[in-house]
């Protein structure tokens, strides 16, 4: 059986970037299944160099992140011989790209600071008279109360203080600018701290500007989990999967949304917005029950698997396309492929709009369906847990003996998750051979995911070897698709 599997595999990966790793990856895969926690979605072993989802990251506490930022700031201070305030602003304004900052600064220090809104060629304002008028508050103020930042626009201390207060209340800190008209010179933090009187606002300033720094740093991200204080530090800013140890949130490092491979950040955002706008229509059109294609008995879907068997007439069909299930295992499996109307360009606007809606509903339906299946598979997991507990109590094997079932559900969920996120990718793909290849791999993945789901739901009567074999096939399909289409 397994020999057959690998032959199928090499067929799939023909012309792909998979290359020569056939054997070694298989061994490693097998290790994965036994090494991880059963309740863990992530079965990856992060040392795999050929894993398309491989990503190095570590969780930091606020204090560690602070230390890390300070170290980066200090390095720049010593190299450029500038003060920490300026170094911070430079890093913030230039994507924390130290090399680029040092290069540019050493080429032309003054020019670079001007370009960064931290210096100006303007001559400082000359204060006239014994009690010059501050142009913001229009009061006469002692000359020694006047202050300015790099641009030399003079305002009184009270006005600066008020300016900072209003800006901080609006959540602006690192971006605070001079008060003069059309002046974009930035106010460095030492100047703010020198003037800002209220202790509460000083705290706010320091907190908000720390947040600004983290958000501007390409290799750091606040964990988007609810009430989670962890900051994730990654080696590079890529659209890869992060799983927070503290709160369990799984998300994309680059955009912070739910992890979405193989779809990229921009496309998934577009898709989610579209779904939000159109979901009412889609909900209305896609009903929650379907009729058996043969005996027309009404069937409600209560498991994740899309391979349906009618309880009444026992015919096997696909929940998505209502087609005969027997065709789904073969080359002709086309359920996941949307067939575009070839004459669409010649049709009227009305027909085109209908066609667009039809196309969207096709992809949305599959997207939604897999999302629902994922939820239902959580129930399957709970059922397995209850049954396993019973078995262990009745001395039918030990807890460890049944662990493979949990591995199977975890892997199933992981594969289905990726499958779900292939639909937005396909929706926005241009027609052509690449889309054909994608849809081919997608359909292969889909068919193996459904096979796995079918076997997991019937785990007690399915042979363990057969189940593990199916797990291997499904994961291979997933990996193959990601290797070819996950662009990061």
């Amino acid at each position: 059986m397994s020999g057959e599997v690998s032959r199928q595999m090499s067929h799939v990966s023909e012309g792909s970037a998979m290359g020569s790793d056939g054997n070694s990856s298989e061994d490693l895969d097998e290790d994965d299944y036994y090494m991880d926690n059963y309740d863990d979605l992530d079965l990856d072993c992060p040392s795999k160099a050929d894993d398309p989802e491989y990503f190095e990251y570590e969780p930091l506490q606020v204090i560690d992140a602070e230390r890390m930022l300070n170290e980066e700031i200090e390095t720049l201070c010593t190299t450029l011989k500038v003060n920490p305030s300026t170094a911070k602003m430079l890093l913030f304004g230039h994507n924390w790209n130290k090399e680029e900052i040092i290069d540019n600064y050493q080429r032309d220090p003054q020019g670079f600071l001007i370009e960064s809104n931290l210096a100006s060629r303007r001559k400082p304002d000359r204060l006239v008279g014994a009690k010059p008028v501050c142009s913001v508050c229009c009061r006469e103020v002692n000359p020694d109360r006047f202050l300015s930042v790099a641009c030399g626009h003079m305002f009184c201390r009270e006005c600066w203080d008020m300016h900072f207060q209003t800006q901080i209340q609006d959540g602006i800190t690192t971006g605070i600018e001079c008060m003069a008209k059309e002046c974009s010179i930035l106010v460095p933090e030492d100047f703010v701290y020198e003037i800002l009187t209220q202790p509460k606002l000083r705290d706010k300033y320091s907190k908000f500007s720390f947040n600004d720094l983290i958000k501007s740093h390409p290799r750091l991200r606040f964990c988007p989990g609810i009430d989670c204080a962890v900051i994730i530090k990654a080696k590079e800013c890529k659209a890869k999967k992060v799983e927070c140890e503290a709160c369990g949130a799984v998300y994309c490092f680059k955009c912070g949304l739910n992890y979405h491979a193989p779809t990229d950040c921009a496309v998934v955002k577009k898709w989610l917005t579209k779904c939000e706008d159109d979901s009412e229509t889609a909900n209305y059109i896609s009903a929650h029950t379907k009729d058996c294609p043969r005996c027309h008995v009404c069937i409600e879907k209560n498991g994740g698997c899309n391979h349906m068997q009618c309880p009444s007439c026992k015919c096997d069909f696909c929940w998505m396309c209502l087609g005969d299930w027997n065709n789904h295992g073969s080359e002709y499996y086309e359920c996941s492929r949307y067939k575009e109307n070839p004459n669409i360009a010649h049709e009227s606007m009305h027909v085109q709009a209908r066609e667009a809606l039809k196309k969207y509903l096709f992809y949305y339906g599959r997207w939604e369906n897999h999302a629902r299946s994922l939820q239902l598979e959580e129930i399957t997991r709970e059922n397995i847990q209850t049954r396993t507990q019973k078995k262990v109590m009745n001395n039918e094997g030990t807890w460890i003996d049944w662990q493979y079932l949990f591995h199977a559900v975890a892997l199933l969920k992981k594969c289905r998750y990726t499958l779900q996120y292939t639909y937005p990718y396909a929706y926005y793909m241009d027609k052509g051979s690449r889309k054909e290849l994608f849809e081919y791999q997608q359909s292969q993945l889909e068919s193996e995911v459904e096979n796995l789901s079918w076997k997991v739901e019937r785990a007690e009567i399915v042979d363990r070897g057969e189940l593990e074999n199916q797990m291997d096939i499904a994961e291979k399909r997933r990996q193959t698709l990601l290797k070819d289409f996950l662009e990061v």
Binding site: V136, C138, T166, K181
Partner: protein, 200 residues
């Protein structure tokens, strides 16, 4: 804080009301009551634009945190312009939002608004319908804007054809302002405008 705001407004008041400025730039500010938080402004439509000859009234509210926060300004006079709502008079202008600087004054605001009338920014619209017309059908936009200036801001130019169309709609029983809005929105197609009003 309010103290600063009051002091500033009083001083600015002198600045804007100075007669040579009024003559040169065609701008005005006046008090509505004895507080400085509510003001009324007026700007003249800039020459060689569809707003020429019109007088546009503005409602100006001074926040307590002025001048550290911008004044809130909106058009009271109805106006057909991509960056000003034809319904509410709300204005989309950067210096009234994040580009405000404490050293700016009411005079700068009014002059900027005048400049906005002379040079619309249809890619940053407040009124999507107007902005679309500005981009797709600029001739009709210019005519419509001129007509609104005459109808609401005492502008000098009469456009008989457009007025006849409004008269036509009025005789069908529609309210004059609603008819003008509908006709303006539907590029002065009487049938479409009537359908639009009935469909509402």
């Amino acid at each position: 804080m309010a103290n600063i705001a009051e002091q500033r407004i009083k001083r600015e008041f002198k600045e804007v009301v100075r007669s040579d400025e009024v003559a040169a730039c065609n701008i005005k500010v006046e008090l509505v009551n004895d507080t400085v938080t509510e003001l009324r402004g007026e700007i003249g439509g800039p020459p060689d634009t569809a707003y020429e000859g019109g007088k546009f009234k503005l409602e100006i509210n001074i926040p307590e945190t002025y001048p550290f926060n911008p004044p809130q300004v909106k058009f009271v006079t109805k106006i057909w312009h991509p960056n000003i709502s034809s319904v509410t008079g709300a204005i989309c202008l950067d210096i009234l939002k994040d580009q405000w600087a404490a050293a700016m004054t009411l005079r700068t605001v009014l002059l900027s608004l005048q400049a906005l009338l002379a040079a619309a920014e249809p890619d940053d619209p407040q009124d999507a319908v107007v902005a679309q017309q500005y981009k797709d059908n600029n001739d009709i936009f210019q005519r419509t804007a001129r007509h609104w200036t005459t109808a609401y801001a005492q502008g000098p130019t009469k456009d008989k054809e457009l007025e006849d169309k409004i008269g036509n709609m009025k005789s069908m029983g529609f309210d004059e302002h609603k008819a003008r809005v509908a006709l303006s929105t539907k590029d002065w197609d009487v049938t479409k405008a009537a359908e639009y009003l009935i469909g509402q």
